[in-house]
Amino acid sequence: MLNYFVRRILGIIPTLFVLMALAFFLIRLAPGGPFDSEKVLLPEIEANLRAAYHLDEPLYQQFARYLGNLLQGDFGPSFQYRDLTVTELIMTGFPISLRLGAGAMVFAVIFGVLAGSVAALWQNSRTDYFVMVISMTGISVPSFVMAPLLVLVFAVYLGWLPAGGLGGGSLRNMVLPVVALALPQIAYIARLTRGSLIEILRSNFIRTAKAQGLPMGKILLVHALKPALLPVVSYLGPATAAIITGSVVIEQIFGIPGLGRFFVQGALNRDYTLVMGIVVFYGVLIVVFNFLVDLAYAWLDPKVRYG
């Protein structure tokens, strides 16, 4: 296990390196620089500024410096918000995004597994078809279509929930964004759970358990659910990535001042350091989360060998 752990940790290093290299060179490719403005600077002043930001050094040295700073959590200064560093901006937005994303994730896993199990237990019944059609809808209707529709129905017509904003962090304001973000994931998780649970319920060890006269509830909870949930566990990695990506539009739609909205505003304002910082931050988050998911999978699945 320790061997496997170390090897996987070593495995994520090239991934992180590629991520940071992509970020560094993309930002160098981007047209325009930090000192572009209506005022043309004197050459001496511009040279001084370039030296202050180390832009006069050779590229590989700049890259090494960039990596070094990143490793210390320093994403550099923001182009747009002159008084703030990108790190500070990320730290303001991230807690809000985390609440939204974590809420959506928990919501998606609970309801996805529940719906998938119900569909599998009553396979080919009307309930099963109903769950499958709903989940196909969840997959086919993108969250940026679902979100305005939810707002239209629950905020505009029915007036049950607020249409947007943070509302001082009130729970009522989080309901619609969390649901809109979670729905596609609920759909995927329900389909995965249904498929693997149907397969497990047909396997020999479940038949044996049934033959021994164990009650169905116990068979399900003790024997069937753990192996059936393995595909769901491995889907948590892509699900995180999808939720993070989805939160970009959801935050935009609901006016939630999280990282996703910073990203879109930053991109539109060409605040390159801010958007690169967010890409690297989220990239690292996804890579690390995938690593944790792999570990959990290896721990749950006796068939994975750590060799």
Binding site: L26, T137, P142, L152, V156, V264, A267, V279
Partner: protein, 293 residues
């Protein structure tokens, strides 16, 4: 020799015939295909039949609801542009992006996967390790950055989306190639001294097309989704051109006063994705005996 080929063909045909029969029995997939055909026909022919151009502004009739009398079947937007023709026109763009970007990803994926699979060994290991690394990248973000950095023309959309969607294709193609290269006809070609490139082009790739055909029906909706996502953020196609994503965005801004602006494009976008997903699922089920239940 002649007889053998003939027998081979019979076997191949019955596999596809079998799959076709299974697919025909799949009501969801068939309904999806039918609906898709109607939508395709509508977005191709529809804009020519409408009396309004997609960028014509009907100033006396801004933000009016759907009606047959005015000729604005889906109503108009805040600038008085006819939503019926805009929705169909946006559909053209969305579907075009879906198909072209999928073909781009297909070309990259097939060349990459077939090369890795055919040559095997260390080259394969390095190439697939690289794919693993790219898998972990937050690509959606990079696409958004590319759109911001290099302008928002439609060519860039094709390339940017195509360039991120080839990873799955490369993996699938590699797997198929690994098993194909052990077959006798490849061995025969190798024995005759045919070069690697010729074997790949003449023998490996044509045999991959079945798998690729299934996979592309699952790639197209993904691509349409990515394009809509970009357009929704205001980073996709530019005014007065439009796509379903851009229309949904405009609609969501006006939905309290003009809900039709949201509902029609949202409905068509969702229906299209629905159809593609059902067709793709059906095709996969039909050709994959393991999942048949």
């Amino acid at each position: 020799m002649g007889i053998e080929t003939k027998q081979d063909q019979v076997v191949v045909k019955s596999l596809w015939g079998d799959a076709w029969r299974t697919l025909r029995r799949n009501r969801a997939a068939m309904t999806g295909a039918l609906l898709m055909a109607i939508i395709l026909l509508a977005v191709t022919v529809g804009p020519w039949l409408s009396q309004y151009a997609y960028d014509f502004t009907d100033w006396p009739n801004t933000s009016i609801g759907p009606s047959l009398g005015t000729g604005h079947f889906f109503g108009t937007d805040t600038l008085g542009r006819d939503l019926f023709v805009r929705t169909l026109y946006g559909g053209r763009i969305s579907l075009l992006v879906g198909v072209v970007a999928s073909v781009v990803s297909l070309l990259i994926g097939i060349s990459y996967g077939a090369t890795a699979g055919y040559f095997g060994g260390r080259l394969d290991a390095i190439m697939m390790r690289f794919v693993d690394i790219l898998y972990a990248m937050p690509f959606m973000f990079f696409v958004i950055l590319l759109m911001v950095f290099f302008g928002r023309n439609i060519l860039m959309i094709f390339l940017a989306i195509g360039a991120i969607n080839w990873l799955d294709m490369a993996r699938i193609v590699r797997g198929q190639t690994l098993s194909l290269k052990q077959r006798e006809f490849v061995e025969a070609a190798q024995a005759q001294g045919v070069g690697a490139l010729a074997i790949l082009v003449r023998h490996i790739v044509p045999n991959l097309l079945g798998v690729v055909a299934i996979y592309i029906t699952l790639t197209i909706p993904q691509v349409i989704l990515v394009e809509s996502f970009l357009s929704f953020l205001g980073l996709g196609v530019q005014e007065p051109m439009t796509s379903w994503g851009a229309l949904v965005k405009e609609g969501s801004e006006e939905m309290e006063t003009a809900p039709w602006m949201l509902l029609f494009p949202a409905f068509l976008l969702a229906t299209t994705l629905f159809c593609f997903n059902f067709i793709g699922d059906g095709m996969r089920d039909a050709l994959d005996p393991k999942d048949r239940q």
